[in-house]
């Protein structure tokens, strides 16, 4: 098989090809590794595990040869975001602070994939500690969008999305705190899941904002995304917030969307949006109606304040979570540090080893948690989080899904984030309410703009109703064909 044909395959197709011996896992892995070399200028990977990958692929081939009862992901090459711990493989969080960190244990999600004998190709680039939406804030350089290398691949899981979109991996794990999977998926023409908070274990995910962080897959299709989600979901005694109930009350749909009720939040449509993105969203609404869905507009008061609440909560948690990186307890120490006392030493180390955006968010979090501001800002933001959760859940009591855009704009050109970071924060407005509410959302492609760049939409459902999202997405994908 030609490299192009190999790398176009979905997971199911590749798994069938492996079982029918049309191709081996070693050949799949070699094709991906070659593509990684060809696309090195995209900056998708921080670490490539060439030898480990080929060794694992050989084991998978032997298992297939022996006719063992195999998992569908066995022998399929994939990549993992560099904030998810991988046993014995460097995990940097795209930070100089963790440049040489080799975890002694693997994250539950990484171990679950390893147990299926999936082939880990390497660790993907990201915004440092997950803080950013363009994968420019990485100590290892920016990730470029494989569809147009002058543009951002989105962030913070930009490396994972670029790896899948560029044919360097069949799927990849990312993490989503406030849109970090959904944005890159939308910018790279992929399907990305932000699961229910608690559906996939966070054990071994290097924390940014623990009450919002989630691990999940980015893949070429809803079907692929579901296959990986099914392998990852489930309760984990190592993460007390992971409590996936194995029976959910999710509605099941097949063929069309005739019994599906969809809500569109009217406040979102009043937001400033790129004309092409708005048109693509309107066309999507029409397509859902054509498929039989009942689409109605609902008002969710205060939903736009989610941006403020998210940045108060996430920065407050980040300032606490990242306090350990001081070069004494955790983290590297740069050369030439000159300090008279312990506090000066820490200030020097953190000033030099953490990137600008990380320092900005830590400072913001410290400000929000200070004695005079804690009550007014932090506690109020937590109150808002409960408020928006109740509001969105009451919408989902009456409707099966909420449909919204992923991002208000086209993928931005690289180099713009630092000029105006807050304007980038504001553009996360469509993802943040669902992040705060802990609801599952699935980003999927809905069209192409004049310049050839993709546009994404997201569908959100009740907690633990990921299966409904995948069913609806597959019907929609079929209709697009």
């Amino acid at each position: 098989m030609m490299q192009e044909d190999i790398l176009k395959m979905g997971i199911n197709e590749a798994a069938l090809a492996l079982r029918s011996k049309k191709i081996s896992s070693v050949e799949l892995t070699r094709a991906c590794l070659e593509r990684i070399d060809q696309n090195a200028d995209t900056g998708a990977f921080i670490t490539v595990c060439r030898e480990n990958a080929l060794q694992k692929a050989k084991i998978a081939d032997q298992m297939i040869k022996n006719g063992e009862n195999l998992h569908i992901l066995t022998g399929i090459p994939m990549a993992i975001k560099d904030n998810i711990c991988t046993k014995g493989i460097r995990t940097t969080c795209a930070s100089r602070m963790l440049e040489g960190y080799i975890p002694t244990y693997g994250a539950t999600a990484a171990e679950k994939l390893s147990d299926t004998f999936a082939v880990l190709l390497g660790k993907t680039n990201m915004d440092e500690f997950g803080m950013g939406s363009t994968t420019e804030n990485s100590a290892f350089g920016a990730t470029h969008n494989p569809l147009n290398k002058n543009l951002s691949a989105g962030g913070s899981s930009g490396g994972s999305a670029a790896a899948v979109s560029g044919g360097m991996a069949f799927y990849a794990l990312g993490s989503d705190t406030g849109g970090s999977i959904r944005l890159p998926a939308a910018f790279c023409n992929l399907v990305g899941l932000c699961p229910t908070y608690g559906a996939i274990s966070r054990h071994g995910l290097i924390a940014y904002a623990s009450s919002l962080d989630r691990i999940a897959p980015i893949a070429k299709s809803a079907k692929d995304c579901k296959l990986v989600f099914d392998a990852l979901k489930g309760a984990d005694p190592m993460d007390q917030t992971c409590q996936y109930p194995f029976t959910t009350s999710s509605k099941s749909v097949t063929g069309d969307l005739k019994n599906v009720k969809i809500a569109v939040i009217s406040q979102f449509l009043d937001q400033k949006m790129d004309a092409g993105v708005k048109n693509a969203f309107s066309s999507t609404l029409l397509r859902f109606k054509e498929l039989g869905a009942q689409v109605e507009y609902v008002s969710v008061e205060n939903v736009l304040h989610s941006v403020g609440a998210y940045y108060v909560i996430s920065c407050a948690e980040a300032s606490s979570n990242l306090a350990r990186y001081d070069g004494v307890r955790v983290g590297a120490i740069p050369d030439g540090i000159c300090a008279e006392n312990y506090h000066e030493f820490i200030q020097e180390v953190r000033g030099k080893m953490l990137g600008k955006e990380v320092r900005r968010r830590i400072m913001l979090g410290t400000f929000m948690l200070s004695d005079e501001n804690r009550e007014k800002y932090y506690k109020n933001a937590v109150k808002f989080k409960n408020h928006i959760t109740v509001a969105l859940e009451s919408v989902l009591d009456r409707y099966d899904l909420i449909l919204s855009p992923v991002y208000a704009d086209t993928p931005p050109a690289l180099g713009n984030f630092e000029k105006s970071p807050v304007s980038f924060y504001e553009k996360d407005v469509f993802c943040l309410p669902f992040s705060l509410a802990g609801l599952p959302s699935l980003a999927l492609p809905c069209g192409e703009l004049a310049g050839g760049m993709p546009v994404g939409i997201q569908i959100s459902a009740k907690k633990f109703c990921e299966d409904l999202l995948f069913d609806v997405a597959q019907i929609y994908e079929e209709a697009l064909k």
Partner: protein, 94 residues
């Protein structure tokens, strides 16, 4: 917020920042504070309890993975009346 306040936050955060960086940060912090101020003015009332599972519990019907740190806790020093009892440690030691 003035530079003195920002220097104070920088000290509390354990992060050294240059004067230039502090100046560029000032405007960004003000914008975020404006968003937070607008949110603080909302009359949110008391939110009712959230739907769905909200309490973590290990379920008897879900097979749990072996607790991998069990070996470590088994080997932990024993305590008596809050004091650690000296135990012999296998291996080469230090």
């Amino acid at each position: 917020m003035n530079t003195k306040d920002l220097k104070n936050i920088s000290k509390l955060s354990g992060i050294k920042m240059s004067e230039d960086e502090l100046a560029s940060l000032e405007a960004d912090l003000e914008k975020i504070r404006a968003m937070a101020d607008a949110m603080a003015e909302l009359d949110l009332g008391d939110a009712t309890a959230s739907h769905g599972v909200s309490v973590s519990e290990l379920r008897a019907d879900v097979p749990q993975k072996a607790f991998e740190h069990q070996g470590l806790t088994d080997a932990a020093p024993l305590c008596e009346d809050g004091y650690v009892k000296t135990v012999s440690v296998k291996g080469d030691g230090l």
